[in-house]
Symmetry: C2
Subunit: 216 residues, 2 copies
Amino acid sequence: MTGAPVGTQDFSPAFRDELTRLMRWRRDVRHFRDAPVDEALLTRCLDAFRLAPSVGLSEPWRILRLDSASARQAARDNFETANARALTGYQGEKAALYPRLKLSGMDRAPVQLAVFCDETTEQGSGLGAASMPEMRRYSVVSAISMFWLAARAEGLGVGWVSVLDPDQLMRDLAVPAGWSLVAYLCVGWPETLRDTPELQEIGWERRAPELHIEGR
Amino acid sequence: MTGAPVGTQDFSPAFRDELTRLMRWRRDVRHFRDAPVDEALLTRCLDAFRLAPSVGLSEPWRILRLDSASARQAARDNFETANARALTGYQGEKAALYPRLKLSGMDRAPVQLAVFCDETTEQGSGLGAASMPEMRRYSVVSAISMFWLAARAEGLGVGWVSVLDPDQLMRDLAVPAGWSLVAYLCVGWPETLRDTPELQEIGWERRAPELHIEGR
């Protein structure tokens, strides 16, 4: 490729094809098998957080792992309430379809993680976040994206639950002051593998035909 | 691996090693060479947006490509002003170090993209965003993360500039109502390849020794 730097850190066309295949088969998973996830494997996937970009190298991600019955029940109740409320926002065809969607794998996922942003971290000394403080939360999202790919490369499925009341969840989990909820992640072995979003398969929505790019 | 589903969509240990290497060598790049970026190559990298997860399959990402001298100058002026303002927030050692950091590749990057979230999109019918509307912006961040990896796999560098006044930039670029700025990306061929964050090399900050995980 013209202009490409010559170096030892090049990647092969075969790797790029596999990377595309990984992105294509990385799905939001809500249907999990009961099989447990090996701890060493989970740790290896979570290591991807530590390779993620973060504003000012602030690494503001904080993870709570929900293993107790009480913490999991609180999260599940939270979802059920938010999901019932969301349903009231739909009419007609969408109102009929919504209850048939499975929007959370919290019933079976063996590993459940609540991922937060520490808005008050001193790491990074605020670099890059003065004019856009939301960059800290965006850094956490980037790290989750890395983890998602690493998990899928191991065959694990990840589902991101957003039908939740964040404030309620943070109270229930006694989250330290200054943290904000970014994601609730369900992790486990998927029941099925897909390359098409479940929401598309079930007829809720389909991908746009093309990427929206305008010039300026 | 115990519990791993048997299927044709498995990935090899060799691929996983390469994926880790990709994440390790994906850096925030601020030093670019003048060499242009082939359009077909850029398009291929941008295709990664279309494989990204998005809440409710809403695909809320919108991209403006800044090619005109006036648009680029407005963005660069915006950065210079925000950067000068950010400097006033530091004292002592950090105040001495800050001016030596190069926080933007806007001076030379051949491709410059402003990436927005369409907060008003009807695609996805609001699914998953009722209780956490920020999920739309997080979806845009996920897509940028996919693009970043795809670009690096081709040898391209990406730099995310956040030292900006988003409202000013949106006015200058005549951004449609309902869009919000998520990222300003500089894209091009990097001057050097690194596996260590530039902020660490220059002594601004270093990575935390371990990932923060607590139980609940």
